[in-house]
């Protein structure tokens, strides 16, 4: 009898309910918020609408919007975590008690890193790619729309597991990359590390599928005439990033699986006994992890290239060198991973090699920066909000790049390794490079999806506050790092550090103000949507194909597949005089029917992960069998598309024009 019960409940036990006030608050608040949402949708009678138009939709633009919504919600949680970290370090000086226990503090910085990278940056990136990449290459949809939906729901399943951890069981305390042996069973017997492993594993498999999907889409779905060297830079950056995803994410899958096997089956890959080798883990995780940071930043580079050309009213300077720089970064990003652990005893020659490679990768990045600056040179620059984000990027990212090159020198790295200097450096590049880019992109492409622009003034002020807040929050960390403050400390005894930590905390508040303005910008623009309406489909006088279709873009993107002759095709057509297609240009098209498979697979993956985390092996088995069954059933069916006739398309286009 006891055996049966322990089989059924695994290691679920009331001991894992939250105990300290902060987590109890979150544990009560989050389910309440979810419940509120359910009640709201029921009250508005929007379930049918939600199901048909969003949850089961295979339209890449809608999938993209869902990614972005999830990512923005997670951004709020990630920033709340950041604020908690800086609150602790502002107070806990010189023997004073901070508001959080050491264990809570560790969970918070682990959650902050994990959420920001995997569920904010990756989510925004996949969302933006889904929204605009097919439009920019003149395609109707992704190559594999159903797989696209599966990717989304695997991402959501991972996100939900991270948040369930907060309510029940606690999260990992091992840092965002979970170094063993700390994350091994011996030192971390609870479910926290397992939550970390399985949420990343599930989301990571979704990312891998997306990578394959994007590569096939770009190589097979480009509009006729669009050779690779006539493709805009954003799709180029997506292609390069997707190749990196394909090369790097399988390594993450293996690494997490091996750590999971150590924990669930008593293996000895990375344990301190039984012949395990923790250094192997650190090499494997960074062989994925370094390419990962370029996976995040390259689409942002693509975005800046589009934004700066549009708002400077000039064609992009140095298109070819932009492409080559992307390729160079792609290759080099795989030969620099060891710079993350210069101090771990690989020897002088190995360190020298990786140090030099790290400096070399700054060269193609510098080429891109100069290309953007030369694009602005003698342009007629229109200082709209996306341009503000771009300028903040140039300043912040260049600074981050310079401190990166500093740390590429092994001798110097020994001084600042694992200090606040490093923390400041990578926030410099990730916030300055990635986050600013994605905000620019949201502002820039918003009208294409929703049919109205975002309020420009609020967007500019959001960028300004982010920039000021960023400097306040991270410049003190550079100084603290040089003074010897190690990262991840929750208390310190040197009173001279406190003013700097307090300044940094104020910076976080200013950033929160920037996010507040962004949310306000969204709400205000929805309220004023009639005045901000985009009637032309081309609100910024754009250069590429997405601006050639009406706003919001129709679900089939292009009624008539465009034929491309120039790099800036839409700009070229506007110079020449835009021709409206004749009735005979329209042909019948086929689009994928809605499918609940993505949602089902996501839900089953979530249950599968939950089962492993809590040792509910029956749940793991059932979820796996059901997932295989629904996928097999789908592969056996053939009739999954629906048809729109040329006539319907023509009449819809005529209606849209009038």
């Amino acid at each position: 009898m006891n055996e049966l019960i322990s089989f059924l409940v695994g290691r679920l036990s009331p001991d894992y309910l939250p105990k300290d006030p902060v987590t109890i608050g979150a544990a009560i608040g989050m389910p309440l918020a979810a419940l509120g949402l359910v009640v709201l949708v029921t009250y508005l009678r929007r379930w049918r609408w939600l199901w048909d138009n969003w949850l089961t939709s295979l339209d890449a633009k809608k999938i993209g919007v869902m990614y972005i919504v999830v990512a923005i919600v997670m951004l709020l949680r990630g920033v709340a975590d950041a604020a908690m970290l800086r609150l602790q370090t502002a107070i806990a000086a010189n023997g004073a008690e901070g508001p959080f226990s050491s264990d809570t503090f560790q969970q918070v910085f682990t959650a902050h890193g994990t959420i920001m990278i995997f569920f904010v940056a990756m989510g925004l990136m996949f969302g933006l790619i889904n929204v605009v990449m097919p439009l920019m290459i003149g395609a109707r949809d992704m190559a594999f729309p159903l797989m696209n939906s599966i990717s989304l729901w695997l991402f959501v399943a991972g996100m939900i597991l991270v948040n369930v951890a907060l309510v029940f069981g606690g999260f990992s305390n091992g840092g965002w990359l979970g170094y063993p042996p700390l994350t091994e069973l011996e030192y971390n017997p609870g479910p926290g590390v397992d939550y970390w492993i399985w949420s990343l594993q599930i989301a990571g498999i979704g990312s891998l599928l997306s990578g394959i999907n994007f590569v096939v889409t770009i190589l097979k779905h480009r509009a006729p005439g669009m050779t690779l060297m006539k493709m805009p830079i954003f799709p180029w950056s997506v292609l390069v990033t997707s190749v990196l995803i394909m090369l790097a994410f399988p390594i993450l899958t293996v690494t997490l699986a091996l750590l999971g096997l150590d924990r669930a089956m008593g293996m000895h890959f990375f344990t301190s006994d039984g012949g395990g080798n923790p250094m192997l883990y650190i090499n494997l995780i960074w062989a994925w992890g370094h390419p990962e940071v370029y996976i995040l930043v390259m689409p942002a580079f693509g975005i800046y290239s589009e934004v700066v050309a549009t708002f400077a009213k000039k064609k992009l300077f140095g298109y070819r060198t932009m492409v080559w720089a992307l390729m160079a970064i792609m290759f080099l990003s795989f030969v620099v991973w060891q710079h993350h652990f210069f101090t771990m005893g690989a020897g002088a020659n190995v360190n020298a090699f990786f140090g030099i490679m790290t400096m070399v990768i700054a060269i193609p990045t510098g080429v891109k920066i100069f290309n953007w600056l030369f694009t602005m040179y003698r342009g007629r620059i229109d200082f709209k909000a996306p341009m503000f984000w771009f300028l903040a990027f140039v300043f912040t990212f260049t600074l981050g790049g310079v401190t990166g090159v500093l740390m590429a020198v092994p001798a110097l790295d020994f001084q600042v390794h694992n200090t606040m200097f490093l923390v400041a450096h990578f926030h410099n590049t990730i916030i300055g490079g990635v986050v600013f880019g994605f905000f620019a992109a949201i502002t820039y492409w918003f009208p294409k999806i929703f049919g109205f622009k975002l309020h420009d003034g609020l967007g500019r002020w959001s960028a300004v506050l982010w920039q000021i807040g960023f400097l306040l929050a991270f410049m003190p960390l550079y100084i603290l790092g040089l003074m010897g403050a190690v990262r991840r400390i929750d208390s310190y005894s040197d009173p001279s550090w406190q003013p700097l930590f307090i300044t940094s905390g104020i910076g976080v508040l200013v950033i929160v103000g920037g996010i507040g303005l962004f949310v306000l910008q969204l709400l205000y623009s929805v309220w004023k949507r009639k005045e901000l309406k985009d009637t032309t489909g081309d609100p910024w006088d754009g250069r590429t194909l997405e601006w050639s279709v009406p706003s919001p873009a129709p679900h089939y993107n292009f009624a008539v597949t465009p034929i491309v002759t120039h790099r800036d095709e839409w700009w070229h057509r506007k110079q020449k005089g835009v021709k409206t297609p004749a009735k005979s240009d329209y042909v019948d098209i086929w689009l994928p029917k809605n499918s609940a498979l993505g949602l089902t697979v996501g839900a089953l993956a979530g249950l599968f992960g939950f089962g492993i985390i809590w040792h509910l092996w029956w749940l793991v088995l059932i979820a796996a069998i059901l997932a295989i069954a629904v996928i097999v059933r789908r592969t056996l069916s053939d009739d999954n598309d629906y048809h729109i006739s040329a006539n319907e398309l023509y009449h819809e286009a005529v209606r849209a024009r009038s």
């Binding site: 999907n213 293996v254 039984g274 056996l636």
Partner: protein, 195 residues
Amino acid sequence: MSRQTNEMVIERYEKAEFGFWLYLMTDIILFASLFATYMVLRGNTAGGATSADLLDPKYALIETGILLTSSFACGVAALALRFKKVNLAVWSLAATLLLGVVFLLLELNEFTQLVSEGNSWQASAFLSSFFTLVGTHGLHITIGLIWGGAMAYYILRHGRTANSVRKFTLFSLFWHFLDLVWIFIFTIVYLGAAL
């Protein structure tokens, strides 16, 4: 025109085939990471049995023979389907899957024997990496068997259509790919143990 033309079906599967090749490339990276892990941890036996003590290349040679024959049968099935010999295709597919099952049973037999002699995956880092590498291949074989079974059902139900030929192409790509991975396992793990 409210039905999809044959060209549209073909175009769709060309895309799927290309995508599947890319997936196989990512699977190669996955196995490469496992091979690298095995090579790093091979000597870490924690005072226990070494690969030379435990692994028998002759036994693995038999497994290799069975898997290669299975792959051959799979090739026959693909050709038979292309040349509209549905019966031959189904029988060859049955042979493919049967040999796959035999391979899997042989592998499980090897695993149980190792475990019963006290050399489980918990004994040392070497054995952890051995069981994981070979087991991951076995897991792929299991997925292949499920997929092959579904294919057999599809062909029996629909016969030879543009769809069934293309679907079978994807399956046979996967099955041959598993052969390729096994050749590396045989060479690096089993022959490596004898050297």
